[in-house]
């Protein structure tokens, strides 16, 4: 059979690869079908899903000419169509149903943050334990510029949706707000980074941890900042409501896109769509943007500079890589995506409270990066998605299933701390390069790096 796009010289390799993977994939798929059928019953969706998975795995796509794009494209299409087929999917044993579209939005947002942290930790090798500060900054930017919070400064609307035009305060379109949040957070990231990035790894971790703790305290005390009476963050009461995203009436009349996400209701391709689906698709769009940027950064000169300083600072400096500037760029890039994710999440939830931001979130996002494979974007997506799902729905589902099957009354979400901690420890001990590692990272962990920082604290 003449397979298009396959050069003749690759033929043998292709066949061998196909056979090898088809066998492995076939066994896994059959085992999966049997398992699911035993526990949850047989459904058509199970067979179709199995076939699609097999097709994507077994065929060595990267040997075909445009094959590199097939798996990502299929993944994107499956993700976009998720709200349509989600209800018909089979039930996974132990985990229960597939995540609802609501959970999928939260998962997507956390994956975005994980990709941002991946740039700092995975690409540049800087341990950042205060990522929650960037998330908070992004969220509060949305809170300042899309709520009636600053009413005493007059009424300023720039493309706002979902509020009446007389509503006081700053109301900027969420698209602009998201961008502003990203830029603002990046600037703050640079400011934080300038004095601290010269510290060696473990000190940097503690300092970022410190910033991660200071930020929520400022948020909590922000209703009377330093006694001046200026209400920056409204303290513990939080800021609400935050305007929803939307395209405004003009564009909506023209194209049918939702004018205001919260009041959206339409019928498209046989399914009734509500606000949750549009939130999901927008989040997916932002995620794709983040992934795109991340991949481009990785393959750029800056990305290579990051790899260089990660592996051997001294050699990198000797080769002319400007250490401080490169590290600061890593920080800024990570902060940018954290800010975007934070701002969008705030708009999705509709309010922001200082209690939303605590240290465990930083560790949680770090866990996502580590489980997935530091430095590998796809690994981070898979690992991140899985952990975000566990956090939102998974543990609760597992608990419900266990209690139902065995009649026990174990509160599984109570063990969340311990489970995530155990994941961190186990991954680091046995597979530190993560689930889907990059080859380079794997080598780094096995062969070791010249880890001594160039600048040190010696006098």
């Amino acid at each position: 059979m003449n397979i298009p796009l396959l050069p003749a010289e690759r033929r043998a390799e292709f066949d061998a690869g196909l056979r090898h993977r088809a066998i492995r994939g076939g066994i896994a798929v059959v085992a999966g079908i049997v398992l699911v059928t035993i526990f949850s019953g047989f459904t058509v969706s199970l067979i179709v899903a199995a076939l699609v998975a097999l097709a994507l795995y077994a065929v060595p796509w990267d040997l075909l000419r445009f094959g590199r794009f097939v798996v990502p494209a299929a993944a994107i299409i499956l993700a976009i169509l998720y709200p349509y087929y989600r209800d018909d999917l089979f039930q996974i044993p132990l985990f229960g149903v597939f995540p609802s579209t609501d959970t999928a939005v939260t998962m997507t947002i956390f994956i975005m943050m994980a990709i941002g942290l991946n740039i700092v930790v995975g690409y540049a090798g800087l341990l950042d334990l205060g990522y929650v500060a960037f998330y908070a900054m992004g969220a509060y930017t949305a809170a300042w510029f899309a709520t009636p919070h600053f009413s005493e400064y007059g009424t300023h609307h720039i493309g706002s949706v979902g509020v009446s035009p007389e509503s006081p305060g700053f109301h900027v379109s969420i698209w602009l707000v998201v961008l502003m949040a990203g830029l603002f957070t990046a600037i703050v990231g640079v400011i934080i980074g300038l004095p601290t990035l010269r510290l060696r790894g473990d000190y940097l971790a503690i300092v970022t941890l410190g910033f991660g703790e200071i930020m929520p305290q400022i948020a909590r005390n922000g209703d009377d900042l330093f006694g001046t009476g200026f209400n920056l963050t409204n303290g513990a009461q939080g800021i609400n409501p935050i305007d929803p995203p939307g395209f405004g009436n003009a564009i909506s009349d023209l194209t049918g896109l939702p004018s205001d996400y919260l009041t959206f209701n339409a019928d498209f391709l046989g399914k009734e769509l509500g606000n949750i689906e549009v939130f999901y698709w927008t989040a997916l769009g932002l995620l794709l943007f983040t992934v795109f940027c991340s991949v481009r950064l990785r393959d750029s000169r800056l990305g290579r500079a990051w790899v260089a300083i990660r592996e051997d600072e001294t050699a990198a400096a000797a080769m002319g890589v400007p250490l401080m500037r490169t590290k600061t760029w890593a920080y800024a890039a990570g902060a940018f995506f954290g800010g975007i994710a934070g701002a969008y999440y705030a708009s999705f939830k509709g309010a922001v409270f200082p209690d939303d931001f605590f240290f465990n979130i930083s560790v949680f996002i770090l866990c996502m990066v580590i489980l997935g494979g530091m430095g590998n974007v796809w690994g981070v997506i898979v690992g991140g998605g899985f952990l975000a799902y566990l956090n939102q729905e998974g543990l609760g589902n597992i608990g419900a299933e266990i209690n139902e099957t065995f009649g026990t009354n174990i509160d599984v979400p109570l063990y969340q701390f311990g489970i995530f901690g155990a994941i961190l420890v186990l991954v680091m001990l046995f597979k530190p390069e993560g689930l889907i590692p990059s080859a380079r990272r794997k080598a780094e962990f096995e062969e070791g790096v010249s880890d001594e920082p160039l600048y040190d604290v010696q006098r």
Binding site: S40, I77, D87
Partner: protein, 446 residues
């Protein structure tokens, strides 16, 4: 080019296959065990259960439920025993009504808005729960929330719900801004929470304005002239501390300071020293006991032994305060909206006795509120049937006589007309009832 066309063709085939699969999923019937959001046991026929990740299984009577009511409470963290008791009380009341409200057969699910990680309500969970309730057509009423911060997120979502605003009755929210403007609220409240313009939220407790005023009035009665205020820098604590300050100053009491206490601090001895040096005769602790309240009381009493401690209902269950602070909690006054459980009469007494028999111990005051809240909801469903908008509207016509917590109506804001605050004192490690105070409305509003 032929090669390119064939590659594109292969690609398109894959695309079409996936789309066909999706379309097949849309059109046809649902398969066996995977309809809707799945999860909970019980009825799969006419009601759609709420996701089992947040909600327990459907509790129901002998008949299949036609509609669902849910409760949204923080089931993790330090309030766990109280909130699980409240959920049981709701089930108890439904059992008393034989799971029927008029002609409608009801089912009930208890949902959790907290995470173990946060140890209390979580804003992401609150908003996703709210969306689940709003989008699930079987849900016609909600008993919740417990925390006012969570309510700020839930009310607007339920208000905008596609099938009509979902009726909501809270047994415990005390933040004033949810139902009315005035002292202690911010600009734009409460209309921010009702984007459709029509109300759907009521509560059976009265808001913190009453409690703050009652505390201030009683402090004045006790002859306390200089009070130092502390708050736990959370929504409830800060709110009630600010309200107390407002009303106390109205009565001429001098407020020496309004500082936050850090719930994660090691000790508060230095804070106590500050209080002592300020010369205060009393300290008002605006916050909840789970925020390291026990240690705070111990240290204040050690550092400033002569101050009188005052606290709002964040220090209930009083047993928790006694357990946390030991002997130092003696002589502290704690207020609670409503009247003590053992002073309830009529339907209240019946409920208390029945529930004590079933649960094996006397109910907490908040449990009585939860029971009352579901009674109000049942009454509204009797009037409105399964139509969400009708049930919401019926809430505001509530007129209860011989209810569990007494006789009251719900006014057009959603607040109750009851306003009694009871004051307890801890004496020798036991809570003793002191008296009831009902602050005047014009004192509160003015």
């Amino acid at each position: 080019m032929i090669l390119r066309k064939r590659g594109v063709l292969g690609f398109l085939i894959l695309l079409v296959a996936v789309l066909a699969f999706a379309a097949a999923g849309c059109g046809g019937d649902d398969d066996g065990g995977s309809s809707g959001d799945g999860g909970g046991g019980g009825g799969g026929g006419s009601v759609e259960a709420l996701p089992s990740a947040s909600c327990g299984p459907i509790r129901q009577g002998s008949e299949e439920p036609q509609a669902l009511i849910a409760s949204d409470l923080p089931l993790q963290g330090s309030n766990r025993s109280l909130t699980t008791e409240m959920a049981d009380a709701i089930e108890f009341v439904l059992e008393q009504h034989e799971w029927k409200a008029g002609d409608t057969v009801l089912g009930y699910q208890s949902c959790d808005d907290s995470t173990a990680q946060a140890g209390s309500w979580d804003s992401a969970k609150c908003s996703s729960n709210a969306r689940a309730y709003a989008n699930n057509e079987s849900v016609i009423g909600l008993v919740g929330t417990f925390n006012s911060g969570c309510a700020k997120l839930v009310i607007p979502v339920l208000n905008r719900a596609p099938g009509g605003s979902v009726a909501m009755v809270s047994p415990a929210n005390t933040y004033p801004g949810l139902t009315e403007g005035g002292p202690g609220t911010e600009t734009g409240e409460p209309d921010n929470y009702y984007p459709t313009g029509k109300r759907n939220y009521t509560r059976v407790v009265w808001n913190d304005q009453f409690q703050g005023a009652a505390n201030a009035t009683y402090a004045d009665e006790l002859g306390l002239k200089k009070i130092f205020v502390l708050n736990d820098s959370e929504t409830y604590g800060q709110g009630i501390a600010n309200l107390f300050v407002k009303y106390a100053e109205k009565l001429g009491i001098e407020i020496l300071g309004n500082q936050k206490w850090d719930k994660k601090a090691t000790s508060y001895e230095s804070l106590a020293s500050r209080i002592k040096s300020s010369g205060a005769d009393a300290v008002f602790l605006g916050g909840i006991v789970c925020n390291n309240g026990g240690k705070l009381i111990k240290d204040i009493k050690a550092g400033a032994p002569d101050v009188q401690l005052l606290g709002p209902d964040g220090w209930t269950p009083i047993s928790a305060t006694i357990e946390g602070a030991g002997a130092s909690a003696n002589d502290m006054y704690i207020t609670q909206p409503g009247i003590p459980v053992d002073q309830l009469t009529g339907a209240g007494k019946e409920f208390t006795d029945g529930f004590t028999e079933k649960a094996g111990k006397a109910p907490n005051p908040y449990t009585a509120y939860a029971a009352q809240a579901v009674e109000v909801l049942i009454a509204a469903i009797e009037k409105g049937g399964t139509d969400r908008a009708a049930v919401s509207a019926a809430l505001f016509e509530t007129d209860i006589t011989d209810g569990i917590i007494g006789d009251f109506q719900i006014d057009e804001n959603g607040d109750t007309t009851l306003g009694k605050v009871s004051i307890y004192q801890i004496k020798a490690g036991e809570e003793t009832f002191v008296k009831n105070v009902t602050p005047e409305l014009d004192f509160i509003e003015g």
